[in-house]
C-alpha cells in the first residue's frame, strides 16, 4: 500500500512540475516580460536595463528554477494589472469557485446515484430509458447555453432568480444547475454500469440465497462496491469544475477564480494566468492522487496489480 502510494505521489509531483515548466516556458515565449515591465513608451535601452536588473537575461532554465523557488515560498508573483500579489487575488476568489463546484457536484450526485441505481435495477425499463435520455441531453447541451437559457426563463421571464453576482446563496442556484448538468452524464452512466456489474456478481446471488432483505442487499452489499469507481470520476470531475467553471462564472458574473482567469486573459496579465493554471493543476493532481489511493486502499487488486 505504502509503495503504491509513494509511486503515485512521485508521479503527481512530476506532473505538477511538468505543467509548471510548460506554463512558464509558454508565457515567456509569448510575452517578453522585460518589455511588459518597461511599458509601452520605453526605449530599447530601457528594456535592456530592466532585463539585466530583473535577471531576465539569464537562461530560461535558470529563471525557471528561481521561479519555482519563489513559488514554493508561496509567492505566485505580482499582477501587473491589479498591482497586487496574484496569490492574494486568487485566495479572495477561491471560496466562490469552491462553493459553486461543491454545490454542482452535490446536485449531480444527488440525481445521478439514485437514478443510476433505479436504472440498473430494471435495465431497459422506462426509468432506464429516461436516465439514458438525460445523460445524452446533458452530454450535448453546451453549458454556457444552458446558463443563458436559465437566465432567460427563471431570471427574466419568471423573475425568480438573481441573474448575476455571487453575493447571496440564491446567486449560486442557476450556475450550479448548469454545471451539474455538465457532470451528470458520466456519473449517471458509471453508477448504472457499476450497479449492473455488481448485481450480477456471485456474492449478490449468495446474499439473495441467504434470504437477506432486498434493501439490505442493495445498500450494504451492492451499492458500496458499485460506487468505488464513482469516487475517481467524481474527483476528476470536481477538478474540472474548479478549473472549468470559467464560462459559467463569466455568464453569471460570479467573482470566482474562473472569472478572474478570464479577466486576466483579457488584459494579458501573465502572473495571474500562470498562478491559476498552476493552482488548478495542483488541485486536480492531488484530487486524482487521493482518489487513486482511496481506491487502492479499498481494492487490493489495484495496488497489487
Amino acid at each position: 500500500m505504502l509503495r503504491y502510494a509513494a509511486r503515485r505521489l512521485l508521479v503527481t509531483v512530476l506532473v505538477v512540475l511538468a505543467v509548471s515548466f510548460l506554463t512558464f516556458f509558454l508565457t515567456q515565449l509569448a510575452i517578453d516580460p522585460a518589455a511588459a515591465l518597461a511599458g509601452a513608451e520605453s526605449t530599447a535601452a530601457d528594456i535592456e536595463l530592466i532585463r539585466r536588473q530583473h535577471g531576465l537575461d539569464q537562461p530560461v532554465l535558470t529563471r525557471y528554477l528561481a521561479w519555482v523557488v519563489t513559488v514554493l515560498r508561496g509567492d505566485l508573483g505580482m499582477s501587473l494589472h491589479y498591482r497586487q500579489p496574484a496569490a492574494d487575488l486568487i485566495a479572495a476568489r477561491l471560496p466562490v469557485t469552491a462553493l459553486l463546484a461543491t454545490m454542482a457536484m452535490a446536485l449531480a450526485l444527488a440525481v445521478a446515484v439514485p437514478l443510476g441505481v433505479a436504472a440498473a435495477l430494471r435495465p431497459d425499463s422506462l426509468v432506464d430509458r429516461l436516465a439514458l435520455g438525460l445523460a445524452v441531453l446533458g452530454q450535448a447541451l453546451p453549458t454556457f447555453w444552458v446558463g443563458l437559457m436559465l437566465i432567460i426563463a427563471f431570471g427574466v421571464k419568471l423573475g425568480w432568480m438573481p441573474i448575476s453576482g455571487s453575493d447571496t446563496l440564491a446567486n449560486f442556484v442557476m450556475p450550479s444547475v448548469s454545471l451539474a448538468l455538465f457532470c451528470l452524464p458520466a456519473l449517471l452512466r458509471l453508477t448504472r454500469a457499476g450497479m449492473i456489474d455488481v448485481l450480477g456478481a456471485e456474492y449478490i446471488r449468495a446474499a439473495k440465497a441467504r434470504g437477506l432483505f432486498p434493501g439490505r442487499i442493495l445498500f450494504k452489499h451492492a451499492l458500496r462496491n458499485a460506487v468505488m469507481p464513482l469516487v475517481s470520476v467524481a474527483a476528476v470531475q470536481f477538478g474540472y469544475l474548479l478549473g472549468g467553471s470559467i464560462v459559467t462564472e463569466q455568464i453569471f458574473a460570479m467573482h470566482g477564480v474562473g472569472f478572474l482567469a478570464w479577466q486576466a486573459i483579457l488584459v494579458g496579465d501573465t502572473a495571474i494566468i500562470q498562478a491559476i493554471v498552476l493552482l488548478m493543476t495542483f488541485i486536480y493532481a492531488w484530487l486524482t492522487f487521493l482518489a487513486d489511493v482511496l481506491n487502492a486502499f479499498f481494492n487490493p487488486r489495484i495496488r497489487l496489480g
Binding site: T27, A30, S125, V136, A140, P142, W145, M149, V156, Y284
Partner: protein, 282 residues
C-alpha cells in the same frame, strides 16, 4: 439478446435520428450558398433585430429574424454549419494523429516507453483545458488556423488512452508475433497490423471527439478568444446575442439550438457505435 419492451425509445432510435440530423447539417453546410436567403455578411441596418417568423411582426423574408447588425440569421446559421463541421473535422484529425501515435507506441513497446507516454497523457489530463486554450489563443492571436492548432494540440487524450489500451490487448496476439517473426519493423507492424485492428475503437472516439471539438470552439468563440468576427461561428453568434439577451432572446436561442442539435446527433451516433462495438467484442 434483449427482449422487446420500449424498443422504440432512445437507444435504438438514437442512431437513426443521429445520422439523419448529421445529414441535414451536412447538406446545410454543403449547399449553404443555394439554401441561404441572402449573403451572411450583408447588413441591412433598417431591419436590425427583426423578430423570427413565429413571433408577432416576423416575416418569411427572414424566417429566423435579423441580428443587431441587420444580418439574416438563417443565412448565418447555414454558413456557420460549415465552420462547425470544418473545425470538428480538422481538430479531430490533428488530435487523432497525435493521440494515436502516442497511444500505439506506448501500447506496442510497453515498459519504459509506455511509462513516458503514460506520463505525457497524465500531464495532459491535468491541464485545465479551457483556460490553457483561451490563454494560448489570446497570447498568439485568434484566427481559424490558430483555434484548430490549439484545440488539436490539446484534445488528443482520449485517442491516446483508447489506442494505448487497444494496442496492449493486441500485443501478444499471434498475427503480431508472426509479423515480428518475419522481421517487420515496429512502424510497419503498427501501421499495417495494429492500426486496422483498433480502427473501429478509434472511429467511436473520433465521432465523440468531433462533438467535443465543436463544443470547445463554440466555448472559445463565445468567450471572445476563438473564431473572430464577422465569421458566422455559432459560438460567436451566441456571444454577440448575449448582449441583447433580455430584448432579443432568439439571438441566443437559435444558434444554441443549432449547436445542441449537431452535438446531440454526433453523440447519439458515437454512443450507438460504442454500444455496437462493446457487444461485438464481448
Amino acid at each position: 439478446m434483449r427482449v422487446l419492451n420500449h424498443r422504440w425509445l432512445p437507444r435504438d432510435v438514437g442512431l437513426g435520428v443521429g445520422v439523419a440530423l448529421i445529414g441535414v447539417v451536412a447538406v446545410c453546410a454543403a449547399f449553404a450558398p443555394l439554401l441561404a436567403p441572402q449573403d451572411p455578411y450583408v447588413q441591412d441596418l433598417a431591419q436590425r433585430l427583426t423578430v423570427p417568423v413565429w413571433e408577432d411582426g416576423g416575416s418569411w423574408a427572414h424566417p429566423l429574424g435579423m441580428d443587431k447588425m441587420g444580418r439574416d440569421i438563417l443565412s448565418r446559421i447555414l454558413y456557420g454549419a460549415r465552420i462547425s463541421l470544418m473545425i470538428g473535422g480538422l481538430v479531430t484529425s490533428v488530435s487523432a494523429v497525435i493521440g494515436v501515435v502516442l497511444g500505439t507506441v506506448a501500447g506496442f513497446f510497453g515498459g519504459r516507453v509506455d511509462m513516458v507516454m503514460s506520463f505525457l497523457i497524465t500531464v495532459r489530463l491535468s491541464l485545465p483545458v479551457v483556460i490553457i486554450a483561451l490563454a494560448t489563443v489570446a497570447l498568439f492571436g485568434g484566427s481559424l488556423p490558430m483555434v484548430i492548432a490549439v484545440l488539436g494540440g490539446l484534445l488528443w487524450d482520449r485517442f491516446a488512452v483508447v489506442a494505448r489500451s487497444a494496442t496492449m490487448q493486441l500485443r501478444t496476439r499471434g498475427f503480431i508475433r508472426a509479423a515480428e517473426a518475419i522481421g517487420s519493423g515496429a512502424p510497419r507492424i503498427i501501421l499495417t497490423e495494429v492500426l486496422p485492428n483498433i480502427m473501429s475503437a478509434l472511429i467511436v472516439v473520433a465521432t465523440l471527439e468531433i462533438a467535443h471539438a465543436i463544443l470547445m470552439e463554440a466555448t472559445l468563440s463565445f468567450l471572445g478568444f476563438g473564431v473572430q468576427a464577422p465569421l458566422p461561428s455559432w459560438g460567436l453568434m451566441l456571444s454577440e446575442g448575449k448582449q441583447d439577451l433580455f430584448f432579443a432572446p432568439w439571438l441566443v436561442a437559435i444558434p444554441g439550438t443549432a449547436l445542441f442539435l449537431l452535438v446531440l446527433s454526433l453523440n447519439l451516433v458515437g454512443n450507438a457505435l460504442q454500444k455496437w462495438q462493446d457487444e461485438r467484442t464481448t
